[in-house]
């Protein structure tokens, strides 16, 4: 048994060494820099066409043997369309470097990636939010970009989308898009969005009619991700990525739980029990609730069913929780990450560069309706003045990156349990948060290092 185990470890190590040997990782900045962006022609402004990356001068690497770069992503609908457009455009112009994109159902992609990569079956690139970087870097599933991530190359992105991608002084990917919660409101029911949580509550009370299943506000109050805007807005925190410290129990956090409980128990504007996903979407579309805290994915869900009256919606920045203290949602930076077992790392980096170029970003924002990370995209009047894009862009400035340490996975469950007890139950905020703090610390102590 032991001998067999050693053998398998040796094989794994050998495979890793081999993989790395084949891909003298991104140590050639000049060649990589020369690769995609410069060769791409300028596209028409705001072009809905795939960014004209038609490179007339075939890059040097294209002369070599044919290579394939595989990308896994969890995109659907419009986002997937934009990605597919960009890839087919690339494939047409680079017969020797083909890109193969595989759409994996979003709830399966984590497991699939974690199982496939150690066996050498994974993709070269994966598109995923930054919060898994700590775990995957530690498990040796992804590798840092090294020299490829030159300051010039990073300049094209919003800084708050880059920072989350840095783990232990190394950067692990280039950002595609960012996701934050904003306030979605029903324009028919509410003329102007509230500026403060207090105003929101006053307006919301008028719409709360429990007997008719109508409420003033709906969000998943027992889920840390949706609770975070109140917590972070009050100056609280969850986890310190640098010092690896659990920061669950704090006066700010207690205040945040009390505030959420007031929404439910005192103001009674929240539905009974956690409402999420399908039910929440249905409520909003049926004008049963004027306000929801949701992210960019919600836009796609608002498409009316056949025969249904479309809901008139708009977005606004999350309100102030206290004077001068705006609600701050978690920011998720969705990035292209480089697999540690990629056998074509250099080619993969070229593709990463292409898909995150300013030109590609225009395709992604116009076709895919993505909140892209590239600064340039927002300089075009079409997007600078777009009412939805403008709000998300603004909210990104008032947000906090989601912690990305591996330890975070042991924080979510205790925190959600504390919220369940503190907001919907009879738990005192100090007690439930104290218990969650101890629980998370205990579980982190038990985690595999």
């Amino acid at each position: 048994m032991k001998a067999a185990l050693r053998l398998s470890l040796l094989v794994a190590a050998a495979a890793l060494a081999l993989g790395c040997g084949k891909s003298p990782a991104p140590a050639d900045p000049a060649a990589a820099a020369a690769a995609a962006p410069k060769a791409e022609a300028k596209p028409a402004e705001g072009a809905a066409q795939p960014a004209a990356a038609a490179s007339p001068t075939v890059a040097e690497e294209d002369q070599g043997p044919p290579r394939t770069v595989t990308i896994w992503h969890g995109y659907r609908d419009a986002e997937r369309q934009a990605l597919d457009d960009l890839i087919s455009h690339w494939n047409k112009n680079h017969p020797n470097l083909q890109v193969n994109a595989l759409a994996v159902p979003p709830d399966a992609i984590i497991d699939k990636f974690q199982v496939a990569v150690p066996n050498g079956n994974g993709p070269d690139l994966i598109i995923f939010a930054h919060d898994k970087i700590g775990l995957w870097a530690r498990a040796g599933l992804i590798q840092p970009l090294g020299e490829f991530a030159t300051p010039e190359r990073l300049k094209r992105f919003m800084p708050q989308t880059i920072k989350p991608l840095v783990h232990d002084k190394a950067i692990y990917g280039l950002p595609m898009a960012y996701k934050t919660l904003v306030l979605f409101y029903n324009k028919k029911m509410v003329q102007a969005p509230p500026k403060t949580l207090g105003q929101l509550v006053e307006v919301a009370k008028g719409f709360t009619k429990p007997d008719a299943d109508a409420f003033g506000l709906a969000y998943e109050a027992s889920n840390l991700y949706f609770h975070a805007p109140i917590l972070l807005g009050l100056g609280g925190a969850v986890f310190d990525d640098v010092a690896k410290k659990v920061l669950i129990d704090s006066p700010e956090a207690q205040k945040a739980v009390d505030l959420a409980r007031d929404l439910y128990k005192t103001h009674k504007i929240l539905p009974q029990g956690a409402v999420s996903g399908f039910a929440l979407t249905a409520m909003f579309k049926d004008s049963k609730v004027p306000f929801v805290f949701q992210g960019p994915w919600f836009i796609g869900e608002l498409t009316p069913e056949p025969g249904q009256q479309p809901v008139e919606w708009a977005v606004a920045m999350l309100p102030e929780v206290e004077p001068g203290k705006p609600m701050k949602p978690f920011l998720g930076s969705e990035a292209l990450l480089l697999s540690a077992k990629s056998t074509a790392a250099k080619s993969a980096l070229r593709i990463m560069d292409y898909l995150t170029s300013d030109e590609a970003a225009l395709t992604r924002i116009s076709v895919g309706k993505q909140m892209v990370a590239n600064i340039k995209a927002y300089e075009l009047p079409k997007w600078a003045d777009d009412p939805v894009v403008k709000i998300f862009r603004g909210q990104a400035e008032v947000s906090v990156p989601m912690p990305s340490s591996a330890e975070m996975s042991a924080v979510w469950n205790p925190y959600n349990a504390a919220l369940q007890k503190g907001v919907y139950g009879d738990g005192k905020s100090a007690e439930v948060l104290g218990e969650a703090q101890r629980r998370a610390e205990e579980d982190i102590g038990k985690m595999a290092k």
């Binding site: 470890l9 590798q143 840095v166 009974q272 009879d426 038990k446």
Partner: protein, 584 residues
Amino acid sequence: MALQQPILPPDPWARALAAALTAALVALALVAGNGALLGDRAAHARRVGAAALADGVAQAATESDPARRTQRLQELEAQRKPAVERVFVLTEGGADEFGIARGTAFTHGEPAKDQAQLVQDHAKTVTAEGTRVLQAGEQLQADRMFKLLDGDQLVVAAPLRSAKGSKELSGVGGAILAPMPAHQAPWWLVALAALLAGVLAEAGRRAGVRNRYSDAAVQVLLVLLAWLLLPALPAAPPAGVEVLSADWLVPHTAVTLVGSPLAHLWLLAVGLLISLGLGAFTDDHGRVWQALRRDPTPYAYVGPAVLATGLLIFIPFAVGVGLSFVDGEGRFVGVSHYVEVLTSIFDEHSSTHFFRTLAMTTGWTAINVAFHVTLGLALALVLNRPHLKGKAIYRVLLVLPWAVPSYITALTWKWLFNTQFGPINAMLSALRIAKVDWLGNDVWSNFAANLATNVWLGFPFMMVISLGALQSIPSELYEAADIDGATSWQKFRHVTLPLLRPALFPAIILGTIWTFNAFNVIYLVSGGGPDHQTDILITEAYYTFTVLRRTGLAAAYSVLIFAILLGYTVMTNRKTKATEAVNA
């Protein structure tokens, strides 16, 4: 089943074959284990030696006087043995606005390109971790300062401190080991061990073993004896491996058990398991081999099934058991995972509580199976009435919950129990009863939701089994009972129930096992909520696997679940003879 009596006269060939097979396998287990441990020990000694060198390099590199620094590094270079490919110093130049390290460079002994990348990656983790430790006001632990790289070709690196008392680390000094040459236990050692084990095994058999229990005891003694004798063999570092540290010279025997005494136990356990597993082949008369030789046809028929079961069930099971003894990095940790699971009752704030969860699981299973049996049996009795109209339709409708994939059923029930919009609460409202937050903070409402779902999923199976058994009861028995003037309760109690027993008991055992491990229902309906209180053992194991990422701990859970269910099955079997033939 006459175990004491040979079925056929002894067959010398079968005996010889069986003895040889045991001997070879036991010897291989012992020698392979020993070889691996010798290799481990050599690798460990190499690492210790290289680490000392790396430490020296890191200290030399912090020398402020450049001339002195060069001199000390040259001295270290001179001491370097061929097993160390190179020593190096990697200094960091600081970080940019995003915290990305910039200007990192090798100031001494730059490695080849692919290695340089790996070294840089590891150096970042070493310095980041080290800085974190220093800033937390803790001391740098020696083992924290070293980072091993892929397998045997490892980099050992010690962090540089720019100044005494500084809380920032500015790089690493280290050594790269040449790959460790492949090593194997010498063939003569294998042969000798095989011979030894064979002689002992045969001697044991001649000593007059008469039944399977004494046979097993003798096997145990033999393996113990072989293990005791093995250390008498000489041992040396594996051929071609240059040992870098005096650690190797610690007095040792052939079975060089680096690490804990548990490794001894491990080695013994493997030998014993193989030996006992082969008991069927190696008992006094080599019965299985003998039978195989006389009449191979039945074995040929079951062969493919045995092979498939082996591949799909026994090998994964064995791997699972093996995993429960090693940690995430493949190090042997003995029974510590089991100890951790079984003592979790003392961790007040832990998310996992083995005994609390075991109690919940047992209660959950008992209540569920009780519902399944009563409901299933009642419906079967109704459906079995000879003059019932539309029987076929009812039967299809009642089997339907079983036919729908369980996760779809589970998600549907979760929706039914939704607090605000669920139909169940809507019904309660219509009856002017306050809505219940089913999946909220109350343990028992969560439990009830799980229970409703699983009863719905489970009764059709019991119904189908009971119905089948009911239909096979000869009507003459009821006629005879009628003539005797039995009431319908008496008929049920004294005719129906006894004749249902042979069908119902195996179904109950099966139902218990399924319910005990009803992962889908718990995971999808209550999710273990509130706060893990409705978790059952299998969902708790899943939590340790996905959230805590402790494969070993999760494997230990699975083995314990298996042991519990095995114990339950064996016990029930003994009491009820459930799985034995009806006519026995």
